[in-house]
C-alpha cells in the first residue's frame, strides 16, 4: 500500500478540551456548551483550519464534581456534523464493552452514508465502572476478556458492512426484483458472548469498510486499519511497534497563548483541578516546537490526533500557527475526500464479492 503524502492531523473536540478545568477558560459560558450552535461551530472551525478529522470522545456520565457534566452521544453528534461539514473526517469513540454490536455496526455505516465516506471508528477497548453500573452489569476488568470482546464486536461489525455486495441492488423491472437476494448475506457471526444473524440494515457503506482506529496491539491486526499509539515521550512514540496498515500518534497539547507561556497556563488550570500526565505524550510549550515534533512524527506516522487542553485557546493556536507551520507535511482535506483517502487506506473489496 502506498503511503499518503503528508500527515493527517485530527483534533479531539470533546467538551471544552481535555483539561478538567478547561471550561473556565472557554470563550463561551458553560450553559451554551451542549447546544447545536456550539457543536456546529466546533466542526466549522476544525474544517476551516484544515484538520483532517475530528474525534468525539465518550464516557458514561459519572459524578461530575465541579467539571463538565454532560456530553452528546458521539455517533449521533458526528451525524449532525456530517450535514454541516464537507471534507472533515468524523471519528466517534465507540467502546466495545457492553455495546450492542448490531446497533454499532448500523450506526457507523449510517454515519458513513450520511457523510458520504467520512466516518471512522475510534475503538474503545477499556471497560468503565460507570458504564457497567449504568447498565446494571458486572464491571469486567480482565484485559484478555475485554480484548476478545472488542475483537468480536469489530469482526461482527465488519462482516455486517460487507453483507450487502456492492452489486446487490439490481432494480430489475423484468423480474420484479429490487435486490438480488443472493447478494445480500446472513453473516451468522458467533462470538464469545453474542451471535448475529444479519444481514446489515443498509447497503455497504461508501468507504466499503468504515476505517477502524484501535489501540495498537489489542486486536488481531486484520481487524484494524489504523494503530493508535500513545506513549509518554517522543522517542517512545517513534519506537512503538505497529502492525496495522496505518499508524496514528496521540499528543496532548498545551500551547503558549495570548502572551502567556504554556507552562503558566497549565499551572493556572491545575490550581482549579489537576490534570495529571497519563500515558500520552504531552506537549507543553510553543507552537513552533510543536511543529517540530509533528514533523518528526510525520516520518513515522500517517496521522496524529491532537488533544488540546482548552479547545477555544489551544485549538485556535493550532489553527493559526501550528497547521500553517506544517507546510507540505500537512495533508489538507478537500471536499470529496473520504477518510480512507485522508489516511492513505485503499477501499477494500467486500468478502462476499463474486
Amino acid at each position: 500500500m502506498t503511503r499518503t503524502t503528508g500527515l493527517a492531523v485530527g483534533i479531539e473536540i470533546d467538551g471544552d478540551g481535555a483539561h478538567p478545568a478547561a471550561w473556565r477558560c472557554a470563550d463561551h459560558p458553560p450553559d451554551t456548551l451542549l447546544t447545536p450552535a456550539h457543536l456546529a461551530e466546533m466542526g466549522r472551525r476544525a474544517e476551516d483550519a484544515g484538520f483532517a478529522f475530528v474525534t468525539l470522545a465518550d464516557a458514561t456520565a459519572g459524578d461530575p464534581g465541579a467539571g463538565v457534566a454532560g456530553r452528546f452521544d458521539p455517533v449521533t453528534a458526528a451525524s449532525f456534523l456530517s450535514a454541516r461539514t464537507d471534507a472533515l473526517g468524523l471519528v466517534p469513540l465507540v467502546a466495545a464493552a457492553h455495546a450492542e454490536p448490531f446497533h454499532v455496526s448500523n450506526q457507523l455505516s449510517g454515519l458513513d452514508h450520511a457523510s458520504v465516506g467520512r466516518a471512522g471508528w475510534l475503538l474503545g477497548t477499556e471497560a468503565s465502572a460507570a458504564r457497567a453500573a449504568a447498565h446494571g452489569v458486572r464491571h469486567e476488568t480482565d484485559a484478555a476478556v475485554l480484548a476478545g470482546e472488542a475483537a468480536d464486536v469489530v469482526d461482527a461489525a465488519r462482516r455486517l458492512w460487507d453483507s450487502w455486495q456492492e452489486d446487490a441492488i439490481i432494480a430489475d423491472e423484468a423480474s420484479g426484483r429490487f435486490i438480488d437476494a443472493d447478494r445480500v448475506h446472513h453473516v451468522d457471526f458467533r462470538g464469545r458472548s453474542f451471535a448475529i444473524r444479519g444481514p446489515a440494515l443498509v447497503p455497504r457503506p461508501p468507504q466499503g469498510q468504515v476505517p477502524v482506529l484501535a489501540p495498537a496491539g489489542t486486536l488481531p491486526p486484520d481487524l484494524v486499519d489504523v494503530d493508535v499509539v500513545a506513549a509518554p515521550s517522543l522517542d517512545d512514540l517513534l519506537g512503538a511497534p505497529t502492525r496495522a496498515p496505518r499508524a496514528l500518534a496521540e499528543v496532548e497539547v498545551v500551547l503558549d497563548a495570548g502572551g502567556t507561556p504554556a507552562a503558566e497556563r497549565l499551572a493556572a488550570l491545575n490550581r482549579h483541578t489537576p490534570w495529571r500526565p497519563g500515558h500520552r505524550l504531552r506537549h507543553v510549550g510553543g507552537p513552533a516546537r510543536l511543529v517540530g515534533v509533528l514533523r518528526r512524527l510525520a516520518d513515522r506516522f500517517d496521522a496524529v490526533r491532537l488533544i488540546p487542553a482548552v479547545l477555544d485557546v489551544d485549538g485556535a493556536v493550532l489553527a493559526d500557527q501550528v497547521l500553517p507551520g506544517l507546510g507540505h507535511h500537512l495533508r489538507r482535506p478537500v471536499p470529496g475526500d473520504t477518510l480512507r483517502d485522508q489516511l492513505g487506506l485503499e477501499r477494500p473489496a467486500g468478502r462476499y464479492a463474486s
Partner: protein, 453 residues
Amino acid sequence: MAAPEPARPHARLHLAGFFGFGPAYVWSEADPHVYYDFAAWRRLAAAAERGLFSTLFLGDSQRLREHLGRVTDHSVTGRPDQLVLFAHLAAVTERIGLVATLNTTFSDPVDLARRLSTVDVLSGGRAGWNVVTTDNDWTGENFRRGGDVTHDDRYRYAEEHLATVEALWSAWPDGVTAASADAASWSVPGAIGEVVRGARRARPSLPPSPQGRPVLFQAGESPEGREFAARHAQGIFSRYLRFDEALDFATDVRARLVRRGRPADDVKIFPATRVILGDTDAEARDKARWFRDRTWSDRRVRAVVEAVWGHDLSDHDVDGPLPAHDPVSAVQTITHGVVNTSDRPRRTAAAWRDLAAQRGFSMRDLVLHLNESIEFVGTPSAVADELARSVRAGAIDGLNLQPNAVPDGFDDVVARLVPALQDRGVYRTAYEGTTLRENLGVLPAPTRLGATA
C-alpha cells in the same frame, strides 16, 4: 357507545411525513440508490418543512424482511439508523419534528435515553419517541438480549425501560448549568441526579432540550395500547381512517385522557394513509391505479400467496386461480419473521379460496383486495373538503402521510393540498413555535408544568 365529540370549528390538521421500512415505492421510476442517499432524505425533509408538516416519522425494523428464508427482494428494503438520520436532518431543518420508532426490547434504556436526548438537544427540542416493544425472537437473532424476553415479560420489561428513560430525562433540572465561566462549578453541586433502578446506577448525559424532553408516541389499538397512550403519549399513530371508526377511536382515547386528568386534546391522532391528487377526479383515480399496479408487481403478489403456501409458486400465473393444493404446513414459512408452525396456513388458504370463489378473484385480485387501504384520491379541493370535515368533527387530528416517491414524494401535497387546506382555515400558515410540543399543541413536559401554570 361514546357520544360524538362536539364539533371543533377551529381545529387544524397536522401532517406527519412517514417513512416506513421497506415500503413499496415505484422503484423502477427512480435511481435505485436514492433510497439510501442522505441527499434524498434532506430533500424530502425540506419539502415537508416547506409544507409546514408537524413532524417526520420513521418506522422501525431491526431485521430485513425475509421471504422463504431469503431477504425479500421485490421491494425497497433497509434504511439507515433512525437517530443517525434524524441527527443529520436536525442540522438542516428548523421546525419540523423528528419522531423515531425505537424498540424497548433491543435497546438498553441508558443508551436510548442518551441518543434520543442528543437528537432532542441538537434539534432544539424537536425529537419524539414512538415506543414499541416486541417479543420477536426472529429479530432477536441480531441482538445480545433479543431472544431473552418472553412474551409475558416484555410488557414488564417495556414499562421498566420507559420508566428508566423518563427518570434519566427528569434527572437534569432546568437552569442548573452555570451561565458564566467564573462560576465556582460547571453545574450546581448535587443538582444533577443519579437514577438508581434495580442494579442500575446511571446519570443523565444532557440537559433538558428547549421542549424539556422528547414527546412520546404510541402505535397500536389494543386496550393496553390506548391506556399506555392515555398515561404517557402526546401522539398516536393509528390505522382508523373510516369516519365512524376513526371518531369512535378518537372519542375513546380522549375519554381515557380525561379520566387520567389530562386535557382531551393533549394527544394527537395520526392515521396512516397516502394522498394522490389530480386536476380532475378521473385523473387522480388513474394515477392511483397506475401507482397500485406498479407497486404490486407479479413477484410481490405471488410472494403474499407463497408466504401462506410455504413454497415457491413461480409456476403459477398470478392472473389465474389460487393453487389447488393445500399449503405445505410441515415446512416452516418465514416471512416478515413470522414462523407458521400451526394449521393457520391451511385455514387461511381455505378462507382465501372461499373468498376467491365467491368473488371470482384471481390471485392478483385477491391480494389487492386484502391489501386495500384507505387513501385520499381526488382533486386538492375535494380531498381538502373531506379532511376538513374529519378534523372538525374530531375523527382525526392529523395524517401520517407516506410519500409516493423518493425524493419528491411530498411535493404534490405541499404545492397543492396544503394551500387548499389553508384556504379552508384548517391548516397552519406558519409554525406556532420552535419545538415539537409547541407545534403539536400539547402541554409542556411534565417537569415544566409547574413553571408554566
